[in-house]
């Protein structure tokens, strides 16, 4: 019986030795990147989207006082929240003393304390996309339109009006198909409709309008025709609007459009592709990633547009060659005081990305590993 006995002893040893431990709550990791800086802001949050289905949307924080980057802080600060922050963080903003993270595939807006990132509650909105605020209300775009009994049913999206004191929805305004970015200026909400679910096989099915909602009545006033598949919308100092079109990913390239606030129509367009942008004063920092069917690779471009003169004043804001290393630029922010430029690299979407900090001259100051698909910034003012 020697061999079987030995066998069972080894088996037993194995079973005992391989017992697994309980899974621990994620701890944030801190990296020192910079010296302490006084620049009017306490720090900034960086929301990582995480690939869809991975539930890996995470929150990072950069602290100006210590120069430290804190990676993955949400679970450490909110250890009791099942399944952490959620799936696909799509937008982040600070309003008052609260931090709002729009978590698209978790069908919610996470509401946190802006100073501590401690969870306060959540706003339930299916397929939510972007958020803006005005006079105590949050306005959130959603792809999830009304349910209709219709075999050819197609979903229109809406803008939800949320009371930020109660976190309850008080009203809803139906807009175009798959609304994305929104902007609030001059008593109006401007919503960029994309039609992203409709146009995959047929360009004509994309939306090409901006919905204009009157803030007072919360009703859609009119539509402004712009271009196919709109994405971002932003008002400049003068209240005029800069809208981006994704194009159809095929022959029609991405492009930047200008809506005059008085005429309420497109009066200018610039031949520059825009995946994302950041407006600082009159400088619109722009980058784009577009697929080329000629080279079968992503073509990445950077640029600065002067919103006053409508001129492309620069074709690069990264000047030290680091741009050659960036795989997929995905998020951008310019510090209002120091003019440091922050750019994220989403890499291959399924593994960690990078956050770069460049000086205003475009020289790399530092870079750091982030969560998966680092994307959206929110600057935290000093208290």
């Amino acid at each position: 019986m020697r061999t079987p006995a030995l066998f069972f002893i080894v088996l037993l040893l194995f079973v005992v030795s391989s017992c697994r431990k309980d899974v621990e709550v994620f701890m944030n990791e801190d990296t020192s990147l910079d010296s302490s800086a006084q620049n009017g802001f306490a720090g900034f949050y960086l929301l990582n989207e995480g690939n869809m289905g991975s539930n890996k949307s995470t929150l990072d924080y950069f602290d100006y006082a210590s120069g430290k980057f804190q990676r993955n802080i949400y679970a450490a600060i909110n250890p009791n929240v099942p399944k952490e922050l959620g799936d696909v963080g799509n937008d982040i903003a600070i309003y008052g003393n609260r931090l709002y993270a729009v978590v698209n595939a978790s069908n919610k807006v996470e509401v946190m304390d802006a100073r501590t990132a401690r969870r306060i509650g959540q706003i339930q909105i299916p397929n939510c996309r972007y958020i803006k605020f005005d006079k105590g209300f949050a306005y959130i775009t959603s792809y999830a339109g009304p349910i209709e009994v219709n075999p050819n049913y197609t979903q229109k999206g809406y803008v939800a009006k949320i009371d930020t004191t109660t976190l309850a929805m008080v009203d809803k305004c139906i807009v175009g198909y798959q609304p994305d970015g929104l902007e609030i200026t001059n008593g109006k909400i401007y919503v960029a409709n994309s039609g992203g679910y409709m146009g995959a096989g047929n360009t004509e099915k994309y939306e090409r309008t901006v919905s204009v909602i009157d803030l007072a009545t919360f009703k859609e006033d009119k539509r402004i025709d712009v271009a196919y598949n709109l994405h971002h919308i932003k008002a400049d100092k003068r209240g005029d609007l800069w809208v981006t079109s994704r194009g159809d990913y095929k022959k029609l390239a991405s492009r930047l459009y200008f809506i005059d606030k008085l005429q309420q129509k497109v009066t200018d367009t610039l031949p520059i592709a825009v995946s994302n942008y950041y407006l600082d004063g009159d400088s619109l920092y722009v980058y784009s990633t577009e697929w080329s069917y000629i080279t079968y690779s992503n073509v990445i471009t950077y640029g600065i547009v002067n919103t006053r003169t409508h001129e492309i004043v620069s074709r690069s804001f990264i000047t030290d060659g680091t741009d050659k290393e960036i795989e997929i630029p995905y998020g951008i922010m310019v510090h209002p005081v120091t003019k440091d430029i922050y750019v994220t690299d989403a890499g291959n979407y399924v593994s960690p990305g990078l956050l770069y900090c460049f000086t205003k001259e475009g020289k790399k100051k530092w870079s750091v590993r982030t969560g998966d698909i680092p994307a959206h910034f929110a600057l935290l003012p000093k208290s």
């Binding site: 066998f7 621990e24 250890p79 978790s106 979903q155 679910y197 995905y330 291959n348």
Partner: protein, 689 residues
């Protein structure tokens, strides 16, 4: 057993931590069947039996029954070097990956002919129930038989599933079997089998099975605080939308002719299932549905035409329908259907040059089509011609096989739903010639000890989805190659009458390279747009160990223990544009491949009683090549037990068995956010006459 060997074995077992398990390699169906049926399954084939020179693992007969496996995928988990990706539940997707080369490199053969899926290259082995499966064999490289269709040479690894074939003892002309399974997940699973001897040389069989399950099971997620270990959160919920309704009918006719055999079979599978989806924050239930309808007709003829010349003819027609529905009004409404057809024919010719040397020439032709209502989809058609030239030689102590496979692929597209103005261009033709060499050396004439080695270079074609899927596909994709190098040994000893009546050990060391791996990469900006590209490079270094022990204990008690263990490093050497990002993923273990994995299958048999225990261990792994804490997946290990009793009552043979799976109620995930069932049970009643 000599002391030296005993020590060697013990050391081996101790060294590898004994999560080995074994498969039975050579003996199988001729073993005692407790039911008392004279099982001489498999009809004599008029070819010389060539002993295997290629590493293989096989489970059949009672060993297969002793596993509490519902689907083929459940059983395949017990093989060394094989990883199963299991999304959980009875209806959940289950795909197999051999030696970490990727699921598209596996060929799955059902009753001798490959199951195709030109659309995505994956065979969901969860759809194949164990009900009518008699044996499962897994081969690294290719099957050890040169007399086979060219397509059998065309995968990096192959799984052969064999369904039950009718066999009658002299007095009987009819067999009947009825089985009823029920248990957790509200499972109702009846099946019937009827076999009839039509003439002296022709047998007929029909079998049918129905599966209905709610797919509901409780699962639990829990996190504890760092250091203190106190519970941070602990949630138990019910898995929803994992229901399945499936019907399988298959029928075959098996004949003998002068110096040959033939068979023809039809297979039909129809199912509707829920896709349970990922569990993420605030979303604990999904509503996506999938319908599948698979039908195939296949036939095979093998005949010894001239004294030295054998011919084998195979043909198949397959028609597959799949519908995917996303009815969730808050998401993109999707209602897509995909229709695939395959026509296949093969002729293999074997010529025995001498008694020791055989050569084989096989030519196959295959035609695949895919149609879909997906927006922007072009309808591809693929013409594949395959020619394989192979030789086998037995030179005393040395046996060898070598083969050369030529693959010639030509594709066309029709416009399908592509918008006017969009390009609808077929991928360029591909002509590939790939070799394989297998050697086996038996140094001692009296000892059943073999050393074996092989090299194989093969590729997988980009699938229709890789090439043509709206927006994602890339027609310029090249095939994805694998290079396999293997060195191993097998030792076997039988000692009739001894306590340890039989034991065997086999082990293989291997190095595999996957080059031009087809990987989805981000395309353009945002919105989850992807593009397939040939950028991946993976290197796999591994060792598989399989041991098999059979004990004859006093009082007629038989104990069988099989253990298998695999150690693998499967590293991602994909070069990246960003050196800083490359540092994070370069050299990392590829997703979901554990370094250590293993299994144990054991059974005790006493008269009509049988007790089985099986154990699976999958070690720690990462969800991504970035091997960082956020991507860490815990090890998991489950123990399954079952007991069965055979009862003979007049002409009826009853069998009753009870199964308990995941005995220790472990909460685990094979794939991130897809929780697996906790402890569950099944009761099986069967009657044969």
């Amino acid at each position: 057993m000599s002391n030296v060997l005993k020590t060697l074995l013990s050391t081996f077992l101790a060294f590898i931590g004994t999560h080995l398990y074994g498969q039975q390699t050579y003996r199988d169906s001729t073993r005692v069947d407790t039911g008392g049926v004279k099982t001489l399954r498999g009809v004599t084939i008029y070819t010389s039996v060539y002993k295997e020179v290629i590493p293989s693992q096989k489970l059949s007969g009672d060993n297969l029954k002793s596993l509490n496996s519902f689907s083929v995928a459940d059983a395949i988990r017990y093989f060394a070097g094989v990883q199963v990706k299991d999304y959980g539940g009875i209806g959940g997707l289950k795909t197999v990956d051999m030696r970490s080369m990727g699921t598209n490199h596996m060929g799955v053969f059902y009753d001798g002919i490959q199951l195709g899926n030109a659309q995505n290259g994956q065979i969901d082995l969860g759809k194949f129930s164990m009900d009518n499966i008699e044996s499962i064999a897994v081969y690294n490289g290719q099957k050890s038989d040169i007399f086979q269709p060219a397509r059998d040479y065309g995968s990096s690894g192959s799984i052969y599933l064999r369904s039950r074939k009718p066999v009658f003892d002299s007095s009987k002309t009819t067999n009947f079997k009825g089985v009823f399974k029920t248990g957790s997940f509200d499972l109702i699973n009846p099946s019937v089998l009827f076999e009839r001897k039509l003439t002296e040389n022709i047998n007929y069989s029909i079998s049918s099975e129905f599966i209905k399950s709610s797919g509901r099971y409780p699962f639990r997620y829990k996190r504890v605080y760092h250091k203190s270990g106190d519970i941070a959160w602990d949630t138990t919920a019910i898995r929803q939308n994992g229901d399945i309704n499936a019907l399988r009918v298959e029928s075959g006719i098996y004949g003998n002719i002068n110096r040959g055999v033939w068979n023809a079979k039809a297979y039909f599978y129809d199912s509707e299932r829920g896709i349970p989806g990922a569990i993420v924050n605030n979303v604990w239930m999904r509503s996506q549905r999938q319908w599948d309808r698979n039908f195939f007709l296949q036939g095979s003829l093998q005949k010894n035409v001239l004294p030295k010349y054998d011919i084998q003819v195979n043909a198949k027609y397959a028609n597959d329908y799949m519908r995917y529905l996303n009815p969730d009004p808050t998401l993109m409404h999707i209602d897509n259907n995909f229709r695939q057809q395959e026509w296949y024919g093969s002729v293999a010719n074997k010529y025995s040059v001498t008694k020791k040397i055989d050569i084989n020439l096989s030519t196959d032709f295959q035609y695949n089509t895919l149609n879909s209502n997906l927006d922007g989809f072009v309808s591809p058609k693929r013409f594949t011609s395959l020619v394989a030239l192979a030789g086998a030689a037995e030179l005393g102590k040395l046996k060898m096989q070598a083969s050369l496979l030529g693959t010639f692929v030509d594709e066309r597209v029709t416009r399908g739903n592509a918008a006017s103005g969009d390009s609808a261009i077929a991928a360029p033709s591909k002509n590939e010639v790939t070799p394989a060499v297998f050697l086996s050396y038996k140094p001692f004439p009296q000892t059943d000890f073999n050393i074996r080695a092989f090299y194989k270079n093969i590729f997988r074609m980009p699938t229709f989805n890789d090439l043509y899927y709206t927006d994602i596909g890339d027609i310029s994709l090249k095939p994805e190659y694998t290079h396999q190098y293997n060195l191993g040994f097998a030792y076997r000893k039988s000692r009739a009458g001894a306590l340890l009546s039989e034991w065997q050990l086999q082990s293989d060391f291997y190095f595999n390279q996957v080059t031009d791996k087809i990987v989805a990469v981000p395309k353009g900006s945002g919105m989850y747009r992807w593009m397939m590209m040939n950028i991946g490079e993976v290197e796999i270094r591994g060792v598989d160990v399989v041991s098999d022990l059979a004990f004859s204990l006093p009082k007629g008690v038989l104990l069988n223990v099989r253990t298998a263990y695999t150690y693998q490093t499967a590293q991602d050497f994909t070069k990246r544009k960003s050196k800083e990002l490359q540092k994070i993923t370069y050299g990392g273990q590829i997703p979901y491949i554990p370094w250590h994995s293993g299994s144990v299958i054991s059974s005790i048999q006493y008269q009509s009683w049988r007790l089985n225990y099986s154990f699976i261990y999958v070690g720690e792994r990462y969800q991504n090549s970035a091997n960082i804490p956020e991507n860490y997946e815990q090890p998991w290990y489950t123990s399954d037990v079952s007991a069965s009793k055979n009862i003979q009552f007049k002409r009826y043979r009853f069998r009753i068995s009870g199964e308990l799976n995941n005995v220790f109620n472990q909460d685990y995930e094979v794939v991130l956010n897809y929780p697996m069932p906790k402890r569950n049970y099944k009761i099986i009643l069967s009657v044969e006459l």
